[in-house]
Amino acid sequence: MEMCGGGPFWNGLHRLMLAVLTVLIVLPPLAQADLLARVHFLIPAGPGGGWDGTARGTGEALLKSGLVADVSFENLSGGGGGRAIAKLIETADRQPFTLMISSTPMVVRSLQGIFPQSFRDLEPIASVIADYGCFAVRSDSDIRDFSDVVERIRENPRSVKVAGGSVKGSTDHFVFAKAVAHANINPRRTVYVAYDGGGKAMAGLLTGETQLLSTGLSEAIDMARQGEIRIIAITASERLQDAPELPTLTEQGFPVEFANWRGFFAAPGLSPDRYRDMRDTLRDVVSTEAFEKVRVRNQWTRLYHEGPEFTAFLVEQERDIGKLMRDLGFLR
């Protein structure tokens, strides 16, 4: 099943190709080991989701821009992404070309103890894109900005019910919790209504059973442009180039920043050379026209951090989210 690019068949082929490639690379020393010879993307979820789309989009850009001639994909779901992490660590010595896609939920799930590993057990290479959080209301709502939301909640916490496309304690929920915590409101007094997916949360807002939607910007921006909903705040630090009309939370007096990054990790124990090749490959691909096309098409925001900078970003996010989750009572 080449279309899924995985399974035992792949492992056999992988080893064979590895052998061939080693011979090819080692024998003639004229090849400038600048970029990776090939890239194997490990996707910790089934086909069709955000991780899958980012990995395949990046792979497409690598191929189209001619940076890498051989790109393969492997979907390995299970354990909220933990299975793929475990596999990458266990088979580290056989994964010299593997880049695993991940995102903010990895930090969250690791904190929750869903899997024992964290980003520290892997080699963070770079984050490539981000999706900022946003708050939206129905276009006919009389909530104008986030101060309105805060005011109403202060009067009656049950007057603003917040829809989110994921389980309590995950990103949609804690972005909102973080924002109200800044206004000295106990997030535990607010009403968060969890839906099974962003689409259903959007429907929940439109049917009028909830008053506010907390979701990813990429899931809301087109609906806002069509006039069905109104985005009252985004969690970027400053207004976005692609959508300058959207106000930030910070400028409304709630200095809350949050980026749901998506980035790539390699197996632990990487040689410095190999690490450099991987980093350069990603650094080069994000500046190609092909990647830009994929990025605009999917409404992702640029967020490139590499190596130590990426790790520092992860450490900060982990501390931030950890504190909030403890405040919310999701962690002891």
Binding site: C4, P47, G78, K168, A203, M223
Partner: protein
């Protein structure tokens, strides 16, 4: 609207686009036949292929894949009792017994015809009523979805064969219990995972369906006992025969019509979808059936009057047409609101956005050729699917004439591969084998498996919607009668629940 249709026809009826529909249907059918690979995976896998095309052609190809995959899924349901996606579970209830009693060709043909009619009628409804249907869809809140699921659950009585209501009830409860495994949506708490990360996302539907249906069926076949030889020479000949008699067609026409309308309406609700639609249609037909006590009827021409669950062709036609109509119906919220109501439409939404098109109220106006091309291609996809599959049915049906010692390994292979291909997780295979062993034990004791799946599929949604409704109404049960829509659904549910009791009382009074 007429000029819209003409725009659509103009876009679709060019040779290369027709070729795309055709290849889409073929690829979709092939992928859909593998248990586990349903429309979602088929479309997700084909999206990268379509990036080079213009949006209309891309959508045309994907619509073909979509319909092909749905039909392919019915095929594996009917032939080897392996419903790869939830929408085709109800198809297996009567489709598989039909195939087992030697009418595989006929069952596949009825499935193809009912899907065709369901899809066609729904495409027509879509054209006529999409704009104002989206308003109705937005009238449904969590409380209403909860009652809709509850209504679905009352159908459990439809699956109780030979009056064994208690066993059906026990299995439904087991299904509801299994649905609670995993992370709970409302509170984010892990339940019954026993510390295993593999169970965090719950038991997958596919694992349960393959374990209880396909794999346990294979084991039952392999066990020594009642089914000595499945096919004598006569039934071999009959298997590939796909003729549907005029009398049967006349019986089926109203069934297909009703189920299509029901399926389409349920499909337009973003929180319901094809599975609920097919279950409700099956249950409704079973209740409407003139008299279900014709246990003696077993002659060939009497497939209409066979008890449901033992190979009644109405029981096959109803979920098939409802399933297809609901799939078309799910395009209403997608195209008019930009809200994906099902996993498949979520993937399609991704594809549309990737083409630079945002579905929503302005799609009509901004991109009329895409909007109409999608609708017309749905219709054309339906026609092609019928044309493509009818000649193939005798060949596909021949699968069942394979001797048992070959057929059993084939079923085991496909169900194992289907489960593995979706998750690449060996834990799922182990779980499936365990479930299959338990299922064989239960089946030997005459416990029906369908209520288990019904409870499992509805359980998760039932709970999520109930808890959402409770959160929204601040913990009070008043949501059951606060809004007129919810109120009427409550009344219907109560009526359905109490109707057997009422009938009994009525009979008592009369005698």
């Amino acid at each position: 609207m007429i000029e819209g249709l003409l725009i659509g026809l103009n876009t679709v009826l060019v040779p290369e686009n027709l070729l795309l529909v055709l290849s889409g249907c073929a690829i979709g059918t092939l992928i859909g036949m593998l248990p586990g690979l349903g429309p979602i995976s088929a479309i997700a896998l084909m999206i990268p292929v379509t990036y080079g095309f213009d949006p209309a052609s891309g959508m045309i190809l994907l619509a073909g894949v979509y319909y092909g995959a749905i039909f392919g899924g019915s095929t594996s349901s009917i032939l080897i009792n392996a419903p790869g996606v939830a929408g085709t579970v109800a198809t297996a209830f009567d489709g598989y017994p039909l195939a087992r009693s030697g009418f595989a060709g006929k069952a596949l043909a009825i499935a193809a015809y009912s899907s065709f009619v369901g899809g066609t009628l729904a495409a027509l409804f879509l054209v006529l009523s999409a704009p104002w249907l989206s308003d109705i869809a937005l009238g449904f809140q969590s409380a209403d979805y909860f009652l809709l699921m509850l209504l679905g659950l009352t159908l459990v009585s439809a699956f109780a064969s030979r009056g064994e209501y208690l066993k059906a009830l026990v299995m439904t409860c087991l299904g509801l219990m299994l649905a609670t495994v995993g992370t709970d949506l409302t509170a984010g708490v892990q339940r019954f995972t026993f510390g295993r990360s593999d169970l965090i996302d719950g038991i997958s539907f596919l694992v349960l369906a393959m374990g209880t249906f396909a794999l346990s069926e294979a084991i039952m076949m392999a066990l020594p006992g009642k089914n000595a030889d499945m096919f004598d020479l006569q039934s071999r000949l009959r298997t590939t025969n796909m003729a549907v008699s005029r009398c049967e067609a006349a019986e089926l026409a109203p069934v297909v019509g009703r189920s299509s309308v029901l399926g389409f309406l349920i499909g337009t609700l973003p929180g319901a979808g094809a599975t609920i639609a097919s279950f409700l249609a099956y249950g409704a037909e079973r209740r409407l059936a003139p008299s279900s006590h014709h246990n003696t009827a077993s002659s060939e021409s009497d497939l209409v009057n066979k008890p449901f669950g033992e190979g009644n062709i109405r029981g096959l036609a109803a979920p098939e047409s409802a399933n297809n109509a609901a799939c078309t119906g799910s395009f209403v919220p997608l195209l008019t609101l930009g809200i994906p109501g099902s996993g498949t439409t979520a993937v399609l939404l991704g594809a549309l956005i990737a083409y630079g098109i945002q579905p929503g109220p302005r799609l009509f106006i901004d991109e009329p050729e895409v909007f109409w091309a999608v609708i017309v291609s749905m219709y054309v996809g339906n026609v092609f699917l019928l044309v493509l599959n009818l000649p193939l049915i005798p060949w596909i049906a021949r699968l069942l004439t394979i001797p048992r010692n070959y057929l059993v390994p084939i079923i085991v292979f496909f169900s194992t591969m289907g489960v593995y291909l979706v998750s690449f997780n060996t834990f799922d295979i182990q779980l499936m084998v365990i479930i299959a062993c338990i299922a064989v034990f239960l089946r030997k004791l005459n416990f029906p498996m369908a209520p288990l799946l019904l409870g499992f599929i509805l359980g998760g949604m039932l709970e999520d919607n109930l808890r959402r409704a409770m959160t929204l109404s601040d913990g009070s049960w008043s949501f059951l009668w606060d809004r007129p829509l919810t109120m009427s659904l409550t009344v219907i549910t109560v009526a359905v629940l109490t109707s057997p009791l009422m009938r009994l009382l009525w009979q008592r009074i009369r005698t």
